[in-house]
Symmetry: C3
Subunit: 288 residues, 3 copies
C-alpha cells in the first residue's frame, strides 16, 4: 500500500517562518512543507483540525507538525494547544524545537555521554537558565548525573532546579551562583563534565581555569560567537583532546544536532502519535 505524500506543517511563532527548520525538513525527506509564520495559540485548532480531518486514520502518519521560532515559551504554548485537539486515534505526530533548544541540548548531552558514563557523575551547566541550559539540566538529571545548575543569579538557578525537580523528583540538583571567576572555578571543582549554555560572545570559563580543573573529562561550549564561552575551545572542536579533556565547540556539536533534527523529522512519519520534545529527541540519539 502506497502512503500519501509526507506533509510537514511548520508552525513558527516568529513573523517569518524559519528557513533553517525548512531546509532540515527538506533534507529529512518530506514531500511538502506548509510553512506558517506568526502563529498564535488561537490559530492552532483550525490548523490542527485541518491536519486531522483530511486523511484516513491509516494515513495520519503522513502528516505531522513541527513547532519552531525563537521564543521557546510561545512554542510550548502552541504545543499544549495542539495536544488538546487530539482525541482517541485522531492524532498526528508533533515535534517542538523552538530556538533549536531541544536538538542542541540533546546533542550536547549525547556528546558528553560518549566520554563519561553520566550516571552518578557530577556535571556543571554554566548559563543554565536559558532555553538550551534548562534542557541540558533536564537531560543530564534524567541520565542520573549530579547536576550543578549555575547562573549569575542564584534565584534563577534555583528556579531551574525547582522546575526540573517537579518533572524528575529523583533528580540530584544544586543551584550555584557564579558571578565571579572564583565562583565559576568552585562550581566546576570536582565536576567531570562542564557544559556552557550561556549567552553568545560571553566567556564564562577562562582557559587557565579550565586547565586547572583536574577532574574535568569533558568540556562543551555551545557558544559559536567569539569570544567563545569556555577558553581554549575552538567552535570546530569535536572530541578534540587537549589538556587531558575532550573538548567540543558549538560547530563540533552542531553536526550531531543536525543529525538528531533530521532523525526526529523522519521519526514523526513513522507513526501518528509521536510527541518529540527534548527527552524524545535525546532518546533518538541514544541508539547510535
Amino acid at each position: 500500500m502506497v502512503s500519501p505524500p509526507k506533509i510537514l506543517v511548520c508552525l513558527d511563532t516568529d513573523a517569518q517562518p524559519s528557513v533553517f527548520d525548512g531546509v532540515v525538513a527538506v533534507d529529512a525527506g518530506i514531500d511538502h512543507l506548509f510553512r506558517h509564520g506568526g502563529v498564535t495559540p488561537d490559530a492552532i485548532r483550525n490548523l490542527v483540525y485541518g491536519a486531522l480531518f483530511t486523511r484516513g486514520t491509516a494515513d495520519l502518519r503522513s502528516t505531522a507538525i513541527f513547532i519552531g521560532g525563537s521564543d521557546v515559551a510561545a512554542g510550548e504554548a502552541l504545543l499544549a494547544k495542539a495536544r488538546e485537539c487530539f482525541f482517541g486515534a485522531m492524532r498526528i505526530s508533533l515535534m517542538i524545537d523552538s530556538n533549536g533548544a531541544n536538538t542542541t541540548a540533546a546533542a550536547a548531552v549525547l556528546c558528553a555521554g560518549k566520554h563519561a558514563a553520566l550516571r552518578g557523575v557530577t556535571a556543571t551547566v554554566l548559563g543554565a537558565t536559558g532555553s538550551v541550559g534548562r534542557r541540558v539540566v533536564r537531560l543530564l538529571a534524567r541520565e542520573g548525573a549530579i547536576v550543578r545548575v549555575s547562573s549569575r543569579q542564584l534565584a534563577r538557578a534555583q528556579g531551574v532546579c525547582n522546575e526540573v525537580a517537579i518533572l524528575l523528583p529523583s533528580a540530584q540538583l544544586t543551584a550555584w551562583e557564579t558571578r565571579s571567576a572564583d565562583a565559576v572555578s568552585q562550581a566546576i571543582t570536582g565536576a567531570t563534565v562542564v557544559i556552557n549554555a550561556g549567552a553568545p560572545a560571553v566567556e564564562l570559563l577562562s582557559e587557565p581555569q579550565r586547565r586547572e580543573a583536574k577532574s574535568l573529562r569533558v568540556a562543551i561550549d555551545l557558544n559559536a560567537v567569539p569570544p567563545v564561552g569556555i577558553g581554549g575551545i575552538e567552535p570546530q572542536d569535536k572530541a578534540t583532546e587537549r589538556d587531558g579533556q575532550m573538548l567540543y565547540g558549538a560547530i563540533g556539536v552542531g553536526g550531531l544536532k543536525m543529525k538528531l533534527h533530521k532523525a526526529a523529522i523522519r521519526r514523526l512519519f513513522e507513526s501518528n502519535d509521536a510527541v518529540l520534545d527534548a527527552e524524545e529527541i535525546f532518546a533518538l540519539g541514544g541508539t547510535w
Copy 2:
C-alpha cells in the same frame, strides 16, 4: 508533449491559510502549492496576473487558483475580482470552497439524490440561512425539488428564497419560521428529504419528531459536534437505514465531500477555463 508542474495558488481570506485545503490539494496530485493567507481583494490583480503571464497559453491549464477561508462572502469577493482579470484566452481555472460550503452542500444533496429522485420531491432544509444551507437550497432547487427553507427567523428564510429565486426563476421555494418544535414538525410534514445545515451543537429536530415524520425517506445531519442536529443520527451514519429512513451524519457525508473536493482540484487542471462553484462541484459528482 510534457505539461509543466501543476501549481495550485491557494488564496485564503484567513490570516493563516487552511491546512485542510492544502492537504486535500496535495492528495489530489498537485506538484506545488502557493499558499497565501490574509488575502484581500486589492491583492488579487497582481496574484492573478502572475499566474496568467508566466506560462504559454497551452500551459495555462497547469496553473489554477483555489479560494478558501472561513468567510464565504470574503471569498466570493476574491472570486469576482479574479474573474475580472481574465481576457480572451488569458484565463486560468478557479475554484471556491470557502468554509467548505460548496463541497459540503454538494455532497449532502448528492447523498439525498441517491435515495430519492429530487425532481418534484419536497425537501426541508433546516438552518437554511448559513453558507452551507443556502447552497443546499440552491442545489435542491436546481434539481427540481420543492424546497422548504427553514430558519428561526422568517425574514432570513425569505431572504434566502429571494436570493435563490433570482438565480433560478423556476425554483419552488417557501420560507418557514421554525422557532418551536411544533413548527419544525410542521416544516417536515409531507417532506421526503430533510437536511440540517444549522449551527453546530444545536438539536433542531428530535428523534421522536423524526420518527413520527412518516413521509421522510432521507434525513441528513451536517452537524458533527454533539449534540447532533437531528436526533438519532450518528455522525458516522452513511446510508444507515433506521425507522424506515436512510440516515446520514456529518462524517458519513464527509467521505463524499472529500472525494468531490479532490475531484474538483483535479478538474481544475484539465482546462484553463473552469470556474468551480457549488453547482459545478455538484455536477462533478453527478456522474459517479
Copy 3:
C-alpha cells in the same frame, strides 16, 4: 554524488509574495520554494543564516535566495543585508529582480544588440528614470553606447547620469529634458536605438515622429498597456521590420525576459557564489 533538493528562498518586500516569480522558479526546475512576504531588512539575518548553516559547504549551491517585490529600493536593501551575512566560503547565490526590472532591462538591451552593435552607437532611453529605465541606461553604457538619458524633468535625468557615472566612469551619458514632442524628436535625432521605459499607458513618441527619425534602426517599447509608448509598435512585435526599423513591443521582449529569468534561476544553483543583478543577468543572455 547526489545533490540535495534545490531550495529557492523567495524574499518579497510586498505583503503577498509574487506568484509570477514563483511560477518562473518552478518552471526553472527548483524542487522547493520557500516564499516569504513582507520581508524587511531586520528579518534578513535569520533567514540567510538558516540557509547558510543547514547544509555542508559542498551542498550550499543547492540553496539560493531570490529577492523580489514591487519596490526596487526595498529589494536592494535586502540584497545589501543578505551579502553582509556571508563570510569566507559561507555564502549562497543571490538574485534580485524586484519589479522585474533586471530581467526586463536586460532583455530590452539584448534585443537592441541583435540589430546594432552597441559600442559607439547613440541610444536614447525614454522614461529613463524609473527602475527599468535606469537599468537600461546602465546596460547600454556598459556596452559602450552613447546614451541619451531622457526624462520630463532634467534634474531626474541628470541624477541617473550621475548615478551611472559613479559605477562606470567611462560611460558616455547626456541628460535630456523631453517635456514636448519637439524635445522628444530632438532626443532621437541621430540615434540608432530608442528604448521606451516610461510609465504604462503614456505615449512618449508618436508614430509620425518615429517614422521621421531616419537614423533609427531599432525601436523598443516596454509599455504593454494601451496606448503604447511608441506609436505604431504593437505589444506583440518582435523584431518586426516596419519603416526600415526593427520594432519590439513589451510582449515581444517578454519572451526573452522569461528565458533570461529562468536561466538566471538555474544559474543560481551552479555555484554558491553568484550575485545576479542587472549586469550578470544581461551577461547570461550574451552567449545565446
